[in-house]
């Protein structure tokens, strides 16, 4: 469908690429072409075959059938080194940095013939300055922020002067400011003739950045389009192949106060965290409170102080009128306050354990999965199956390790596990982070349904669109302080910006 006029002067063409894994046809006859200097989006739900496709281009996976050309010549990379030599570079979603090694060592590992350490360090400084991504080559990667870590990967690619740069979910861990910097870098690159193959779930970003999009569904190219001419919703529907369900509910009168924090202050338990300063909030039954703000402004701490992982130094936290600040997480769960933290692997789920075991971990008290110290596996398995079914978690079965699920599916499981325990108050942090449009919509719907049934829901998120869509009232965290919540309806972008920037209560509420 790409048309012959595009193929003539293409940088890269893919023709009938096919790759099968046992039981799945990951890519079926995928064909498209990339022009020099274009940003080409690859769209699809989790499991649509995007990763397999780019791994074939990067030489990590051998296609079963089909051809690729680069600059008109046959391109069959046998390994990533061959792909790099031909001018293809890739920024990975995870798994490609070495925490204990320095920035320079990390970059050297991604190059085939790195120069001497000193020369490499000066080239890193040079290139990172030129693209507005300052980076100190001697720092240990483990100490860097998510945005800085990504810079390491990008600089690693840029040092090889790639003709094609593949980016897999590059913005999922970045703050909006960091995304802006990244986009500027990418535009500078394309103006120099580099093509970019861009994978992301963030459709607004794709509309802002990409000139062309190829849409994959179940391993097949189903459509191509110019994303600038489509709305985010139209793009999502192309990916899903169906009308996108927009979360909806009937507005209800909020009930009694379910959870309230007053004057809560807490020094951050982690070294690079943000202290909470005099945070007060109230959330009522049947209401969704949205808390926005740029990452690292105290979101993790706020969740921890509500879940019971950390205790407030000053102030009080009451659940249905009862002071709970000194209670453990388990005791809070028993009283109906459930939480789902941001980090799926390691915080809200144990990656090496099965879904059944993970269901037990937070469900043991409320679902009565433990009987006089003995685990009731049958009941636990039923609970896990109930989550899988109700939240459409795609997995071969509840015996599978949590870590083997895709991000979106695990997120559905983690949220579902809490929702099905019928909480009185549910606090979630980044409920749809790295989740595709359809899964995100179903997670949001489940939160709304929960509120409709009378629970109080607090959603902490960096996705403003999400908060505007589902929350009744909105507030924002800024350097550990919380703005006074205001009704979401009729809130303007300027007002939100002011709240995120830490404006005084009076100015915003006016």
């Amino acid at each position: 469908m790409t048309g012959d006029m595009r193929q003539g002067d293409a940088l890269m063409t893919l023709e009938g690429l096919t790759k099968a894994y046992p039981g799945v046809l990951a890519n079926d006859q995928v064909s498209f072409s990339l022009l020099p200097g274009e940003v080409h989006a690859l769209l699809g739900e989790n499991g649509a075959g995007k990763s397999t496709l780019v791994k074939m281009i990067y030489g990590l996976v051998k296609p079963d059938a089909g051809q690729m050309t680069l600059n008109g010549d046959d391109f069959t990379p046998v390994n990533p080194a061959a792909a790099r030599a031909a001018g293809v570079a890739m920024v990975f979603q995870h798994f490609s940095l070495f925490d204990a090694l320095s920035v320079a060592e990390n970059i050297a590992l991604g190059m085939d013939n790195p120069p001497s350490t000193r020369e490499l360090a000066s080239r890193i400084r040079e290139v990172s300055q030129a693209y507005g991504l300052p980076l100190d080559p001697d720092r240990i990667v483990g100490d860097l922020s998510a945005g800085e870590r990504q810079r390491v990967e990008i600089i690693r690619c840029l040092l090889q002067n790639p003709k094609l740069l593949i980016m897999d979910e590059p913005t999922s861990v970045l703050t909006p400011q960091e995304v802006e910097i990244l986009f500027e870098t990418l535009r500078k690159l394309t103006s120099e003739g580099t093509s970019i193959l861009y994978i992301s779930h963030k459709l607004e970003e794709i509309r802002a950045l990409c000139e062309h999009a190829t849409i994959l569904r179940h391993g097949v190219v189903v459509d191509t389009c110019d994303p600038r001419e489509k709305s985010a919703r139209e793009l999502a529907e192309l990916m899903v192949g169906d009308k996108l369900h927009v979360p909806s509910r009937d507005p209800a009168e909020p009930g009694a106060v379910a959870l309230s924090l007053s004057g809560v202050s807490m020094p951050s338990p982690s070294e690079f965290g943000t202290d909470l300063r005099n945070v007060s909030l109230e959330v009522r039954k049947g209401e969704v409170l949205g808390i926005g703000g740029v990452a690292g402004n105290g979101q993790d701490e706020l969740l921890a102080v509500m879940s019971g992982e950390a205790r407030a130094q000053d102030g009080s936290i009451t659940l249905a009128g009862e002071e709970i600040n000194t209670l453990s997480p388990g005791a809070r769960r028993a009283r109906g306050l459930l939480t789902a933290p941001e980090e799926r692997l390691g915080h809200s789920a144990a990656p090496e354990m099965s879904l059944i075991e993970n269901a037990l971990l937070t469900g043991s008290v409320r679902e009565k999965l433990v009987d006089r110290g003995f685990l009731r596996w049958n009941k636990t398995e039923k609970f896990a199956r109930r989550i899988i079914e109700a939240f459409d978690v795609r997995t071969p079965g509840p015996d599978n390790a949590a870590g083997s699920l895709s991000g979106g599916n695990l997120q559905k499981f983690v949220i579902g596990r809490e929702v099905l325990q019928n909480p009185d108050v549910l606090v979630v942090n980044q409920p749809t982070w790295g989740v595709d449009a359809a899964a995100a919509a179903s997670i949001r719907q489940s939160l709304l349904d929960l509120a409709h049934k009378g629970a109080a829901v607090i959603v902490i998120s960096q996705d403003l669109d999400e908060l505007m869509e589902i929350s009744d009232r909105f507030t924002a965290l800024n350097e550990g302080r919380l703005a006074r919540p205001v009704p979401t309806q009729g809130l303007s972008v300027e007002e939100i910006g002011l709240m995120m920037g830490g404006a005084e209560d009076g100015e915003v509420a006016a």
């Binding site: 397999t52 996976v61 990975f92 798994f95 070495f98 204990a100 050297a108």
Partner: protein, 307 residues
């Protein structure tokens, strides 16, 4: 009690001899662990090296051939571990323990005919000029060649790990095998080579006990040296020079406590006998309290190449 009969020069000189087996085994294991594999079979590879080295040394009359044979035997045994762990994905801890038990049994079997025989002596190398330096000369420069070989191996290991691309790749593989694989490095091949190096070093370390230190074959003669080597690697934070420090500290105190026992110091023998273990661990713990500990990120983890 007569402390006067302890000759400090002799003590320091014998320290290097006492420490060499552990040093060899530990530096090999440090490389294995840097590549992300935990091989608990050090003791088994040492004792196998000890018996094979002894057999070849006795039969050929040349200890140097014994050391080469011991290195080959250690490496061969380690390849058994490597295939099980890297290709058949068996559990590293269980396989390593099994390797130790296997090595102890195998060595007893091979060693039966060699009991009670004395090993051929290894000539000492008196390094010209350096060995004539007063005090330092006799301590440091009048040893058998394996003492120098072990020091050269430590220096080379440090150089390769920190200064060369091969070393960087090895550290990368040990730090994050998924990332290394994604960048196109051969994780399994790198690890197999590291395991072979570790096996060869452990084998030579064992042969040093049977050919130089004791020097004869006694069943079970490594007596836990492999375990001490493993502990030293951890407490040395996987750094070659600290491994050297730990091994020499352990060797030094072992020799000193024997001398103290001989001199009749009124400290219970049990306490003297345990002192090398206690002090070595204490000192290395204090060192590793400061700064980063640097356990390789993928140490002991199973690696599945993802597609």
């Amino acid at each position: 009690m007569d402390l006067g009969q302890i000759n400090p020069l002799l003590l320091l000189a014998s320290l290097m001899v006492a420490a060499t087996p552990i040093l060899l085994a530990a530096i090999g294991e440090a490389v294995v662990e840097k590549s992300g594999v935990l091989n608990l079979g050090v003791e088994g590879m040492m004792i196998t090296g000890a018996v094979v080295g002894f057999a070849f040394g006795v039969n050929t009359g040349a200890p140097s051939i014994g050391f080469v044979a011991a290195a080959v035997a250690g490496a061969a045994l380690s390849m058994l571990f490597g295939v099980l762990v890297l290709y058949l994905k068996s559990n590293q801890v269980a396989t390593g323990l099994g390797l130790t038990l296997f090595g102890l049994g195998l060595s007893a079997l091979i060693g039966k005919p060699y009991e009670g025989i004395k090993a051929p002596t290894m000539a000492k190398w008196e390094i010209p000029l350096l060995s004539d330096i007063p005090v330092l000369g006799p301590i440091m420069f009048r040893h058998d060649p394996m003492v120098y070989v072990s020091l050269i191996i430590v220096a080379l290991t440090w150089y390769v790990l920190t200064r060369t691309r091969a070393g960087l790749i090895l550290r990368g593989v040990g730090e994050n095998h998924n990332a290394a694989h994604a960048l196109g490095y051969k994780v399994i091949r790198v690890r197999l080579m590291a395991i072979a190096f570790g096996g060869a070093c452990a084998g030579m370390g064992g042969a040093y006990i049977s050919l130089v230190r004791v020097p004869q074959w006694v069943e079970g003669m490594t007596a836990g040296a492999g375990w001490i080597a493993l502990a030293i690697v951890v407490f040395a934070s996987w750094r070659p020079w600290r491994v050297l420090l730990g091994a020499y500290l352990f060797g030094g105190i072992s020799v000193l406590q024997l001398n103290l026992q001989a001199a009749g110091v009124p400290i219970p023998v049990e306490i003297l006998a345990m002192s090398p273990y206690l002090i070595t661990i204490l000192v290395l713990v204090v060192i590793s309290l400061r700064g980063n500990h640097g356990a390789p990120g993928s140490l002991g983890r199973e690696f599945h190449a993802t597609h």
